[in-house]
């Protein structure tokens, strides 16, 4: 009798890890691989979260865990060896107009040197993590895996056990990068369901400045893709980071994204998350403020339609006094899509004089769309000023009427209102080329809502 056992993604991945482990020659005893091994041990103990898990209460990932995903190497990566066989990807489609940046391209989680274009400057190291593991071993061993905790986080443990490539960026003391760094993560699913693991390590030393843009795309929609990103960012004293994440995958794409910022004294981080497509996107954005007088700005935009589910979780951990954090997320949900927002502000004992703000506003534009939002405050210090607000609703009838009374058609008026609703977040973004690029994408998306 044939009894079909249900497919289990975790078992399959553990099997994959075993193979991966065996194939490593010489590397298997390295410190770096040791870290992977212990992450794999943790991964073994965990299971993929279900809706019973408080942090995944509104996000059902059954569609992911039921599927088989392989870590295929894309043919497009072979082009460096046999240039004639493969045409290059036309990157123009993924480059924001007017953006002069150093471009790093990762296809299915592996660095493509032929597509990338990196200029070299003193005091600045930009390279693939795979290369850095060999070349910058000391820095990697010191920092890799130190900031992003994977206990009780299955996806982070999964990422840490398979981590092999991604962005490695080190900006030395008092260096300001002239050109922004643009990372393009492209999924090629032509060989089957694709699992892409991207692992980034960003170290910004004292007084340094950098602008980083990350873009996620799918090259084709032959099969499903699962992207698992983990980014660790150490922000040194007085350093400044301006960070953008553009999530633009297709409707056969699932994405898990974990970004951990650790901020030292008087540093400033702006991070902007724009989610416009992808079937299921889950973002875990964590901030640890461990030096005084830090400023953190978290901006987010999500526009969903169809059966999309965009889930934004954030945690701002105020561990020391005198820091400021400001979180501002806005979303529009259409079709039968779902939005999830969970923002948590944690103010630890003794983190006095903390200022923390959080705001989440949502508009539902169709009968079947839904939003679950949970702005959460956990406060253990008394001399603080923390506020949060959340609203959900539909468009302001009076504003619509006002415009209609002045001869603007209802549909046009509706779109103007939606655009201006999102515009409030756009205003907080600093990079002109990115703002223009995103604006265009948003306009196109609003047309479909």
């Amino acid at each position: 009798m044939n009894v079909e056992t249900a497919f289990d993604l975790k078992d399959k991945l553990l099997e994959d890890f075993k193979k991966f482990d065996e194939q490593l020659n010489g590397q298997s005893t390295s410190v770096f691989h040791g870290k992977r091994k212990s992450a794999s041990e943790e991964f073994k103990l965990l299971s993929f979260p279900t809706k019973k898990h408080e942090e995944w209460k509104y996000t059902n990932i059954k569609a992911i865990t039921e599927k088989n995903f392989d870590q295929n190497t894309s043919d497009l990566l072979l082009d460096s060896l046999s240039n004639s066989l493969n045409e290059k990807i036309d990157l123009a489609a993924y480059l924001p107009e007017g953006l002069d940046a150093d471009v790093l391209v990762f296809i299915n989680g592996e660095w493509s040197s032929s597509h990338s274009n990196v200029s070299h400057a003193d005091g600045i190291t930009v390279k693939s993590l795979a290369v850095a593991i060999a070349e910058d071993t000391d820095l990697i061993n010191e920092h890799f895996g130190k900031y992003a905790k994977y206990n009780d986080n299955t996806f982070a443990a999964m990422n840490s056990s398979f981590a092999k490539d991604g962005l490695f960026l080190h900006v030395a003391k008092s260096q300001a990068i002239a050109k922004p760094i643009l990372c393009l993560y492209l999924n090629d699913t032509s060989k089957g369901n694709q699992l892409s693991i991207n692992r980034n390590l960003i170290l910004v030393d004292e007084n340094a400045q950098v602008q980083i843009i990350e873009g996620h795309y799918n090259l084709n929609d032959d099969n499903f893709s699962l992207t698992n990103n983990l980014t660790e960012v150490l922000v040194g004293k007085n350093a400044k980071i301006d960070h953008y994440k553009l999530q633009l995958e297709n409707d056969k794409a699932y994405q898990y994204n974990f970004c951990q910022f650790v901020q030292q004294q008087s540093s400033t981080v702006h991070t902007n998350t724009v989610t416009l497509s992808g079937e299921l996107v889950r973002n875990d954005l964590h901030f640890l403020l461990e030096g005084e007088h830090c400023d953190s700005f978290l901006n987010g935009i999500y526009l969903s339609d169809g059966t999309q589910l965009f889930d934004n979780h954030s945690l701002v951990d105020h561990a020391v006094p005198n820091c400021m954090s400001d979180e501002f997320y806005k979303g529009i949900m259409g079709g039968s899509s779902k939005g999830v927002f969970n923002g948590k502000i944690l103010v630890r004992e003794d983190a006095q004089k903390t200022n923390a703000f959080q705001s989440n506003k949502n508009v539902l534009v169709s009968d079947n769309a839904s939003i679950n939002t949970k702005p959460q405050l956990e406060i253990f210090a008394d001399d603080v000023r923390c506020t949060h607000g959340a609203t959900t609703g539909q468009m302001d009838d009076e504003a619509l009427f006002y415009m209609q009374a002045r001869g603007i058609g209802k549909e046009t008026a509706r779109k103007i209102l939606l655009r201006s609703f999102i515009g409030e977040v756009m205003e907080r973004m600093n990079s002109k080329p990115i703002v223009d690029y995103v604006n265009e994408l948003i306009e196109a998306k609003i047309e479909t809502l």
Partner: protein
């Protein structure tokens, strides 16, 4: 600001004023929880067969459940086998006048400052005292019965109006609802039953004073309030308990049913023993399930609570807004000091069209206490034009306490409008300075600011309750915060 510090210390050191044990004979059953105990309780209370079956069914399901751990509170789980599930004062006969009352009990009420005579004469309040588990006194019953209002102890209602009890018992909080509701359904001993017939506006505030008295006795009350079409009732519940070192479990269930155009107002002042102020030991565990359903169109249910006591509170008075145009309200002041922990809030479930809800929650934490607001606003697919406004403010006094907010907002209808805002801060130094500059001392200024902070909720309390609530607040935060 060492001055301020010392006044804060005063606040956190103020002792529970109303702790004492009244000594009178008790008719108890042995400790422990089993089917036999449930049968015994049921027999002692001379209950009909269906109720016993109902209890046993609940108990059967209870045994399959585990104690919930998701709340933001930490405590040693009570041993359910160490609790006496039934205890009743010996004087069981119904009293017509106060002279017949056990003198011991009368003095207990007097020490609490509740003068029955005065309340009867002046405040026009009918009080149904529950000392431990059995009602010993019901006043104004006759007057109410002329209007057709039924206001009696739960056991009497089971005897006199079995059809009503059978119809509504468990209809809002099913016996399988949650761990403590299931436990309550299995072993509840008494409580209040209130029925307002069609078109009747109850002329007086109905009120019950609960006291946990016998050592080691868990109290498992069951309250059921039914307001038929166009009826109105305002119901008060207040609690003070004697000082104890042993944790006492309180797992009550309150059910409210509001039919078409009916309005039910439920107010609570809770001041159970919060535990030893030095060590945090002892104190009452308050695990309560309170839920109302706006069954008919245009109905209204309003919860108002002032929570100052208990070591651990776990309580979410909720409203299911089923009828179109129905309205749910929740007003709460929760004060925690010393080692108290509170995880409290509300649930508003919007099902009908044009339903509205309003949540105002004010939390004050002092000492080493933890105060959490946990609320759910859920708008179902068909709840067109649902509207919710929530406001949760927390005030922190002292740097070793915590204030937490966990609001869950789930919207499934595009026409629903939901607004939530929350703030957490300490008493502003500018505010204090402003008051002091105008000749107030620090203590008065702090009191003034706290009074202002909670005023929005206090205003919702019935007059006679507001006085007591204010007194409670000042005793709990005694020292600077009067």
């Amino acid at each position: 600001m060492s001055d301020f510090q010392s006044t804060i210390d005063d606040v956190t050191q103020s002792e529970y004023k109303w702790g004492f044990v009244s000594d009178f004979d008790e008719d108890t059953v042995p400790k422990g929880l089993s089917e036999d105990i449930i049968r015994l309780i049921s027999k002692k209370k001379e209950e009909p067969e269906w109720l016993l079956e109902w209890r046993l069914e609940a108990f059967k399901h209870f045994q399959t459940m585990v104690e919930p751990e998701w709340a933001n509170v930490h405590y040693e789980k009570p041993n359910l086998q160490e609790i006496k599930y039934y205890s009743a004062p010996m004087s069981k006969k119904t009293l017509e006048s106060l002279d017949e009352l056990d003198p011991e009990m009368k003095s207990m009420y007097d020490r609490l400052g509740i003068s029955i005579e005065e309340q009867k004469r002046l405040a026009n309040v009918a009080i149904d005292f529950v000392v431990d588990s059995v009602s010993v006194q019901t006043t104004f019953k006759e007057e109410l019965s002329k209007l057709g209002v039924i206001f009696s102890s739960f056991s009497e209602a089971v005897k006199d109006h079995p059809e009503l009890v059978k119809k509504y018992l468990g209809s809002v909080v099913p016996p399988r609802d949650n761990y403590y509701a299931a436990l309550n359904s299995a072993v509840f001993t008494d409580g209040s039953f209130c029925f307002i017939p069609k078109g009747v506006r109850c002329p007086m505030e109905l009120s019950t004073y609960f006291r946990i008295n016998a050592a080691g006795t868990g109290q498992f009350e069951r309250t059921l309030i039914v307001a038929e079409d166009d009826a109105y009732v305002s119901y008060l519940e207040g609690c003070t308990a004697p000082q104890r070192d042993e944790n006492q479990l309180h797992a009550a269930v309150v059910e409210i049913v509001a039919m078409k155009n009916a309005e039910v107002k439920y107010s609570t002042v809770q001041n159970w023993y919060p535990g030893n102020p030095e060590t945090g030991k002892g104190g009452v565990f308050n695990f309560v399930t309170k839920r109302g359903i706006c069954k008919g169109d245009n109905s209204k249910i309003s919860w108002t609570q002032v929570e100052t006591g208990s070591a651990v509170t776990w309580k979410y008075p909720s409203v299911i807004l089923l009828g179109d145009n129905s309205l749910g309200e929740f007003y709460s002041v929760a004060v925690t000091t010393n080692f108290q922990q509170a995880d409290t809030g509300t649930k508003m479930i919007h099902i009908g069209k044009n339903t509205k809800s309003r949540i105002v929650s004010k939390g004050i934490s002092a000492g080493k206490s933890q105060n959490s607001y946990r609320g759910l606003v859920q708008v179902k697919r068909n709840a067109k034009n649902a509207y919710n406004f929530s406001q949760c403010d927390s005030l922190l006094i002292g740097d070793r306490c915590g204030a937490h907010t966990f609001p869950y907002i789930e919207s499934n209808n595009p026409s629903a409008q939901i607004e939530h805002e929350a703030t957490t801060s300490k008493i502003g130094e500018e505010m204090l300075f402003y008051c002091q500059q105008r000749g107030m001392d620090l203590e008065t200024a702090t009191a003034l600011i706290i009074n202002g902070f909670v005023k929005e909720v206090m205003e919702k309390l019935p007059m006679e309750f507001a006085v007591e609530a204010k007194k409670l607040l000042s005793i709990t935060l005694e020292g600077s915060v009067g």
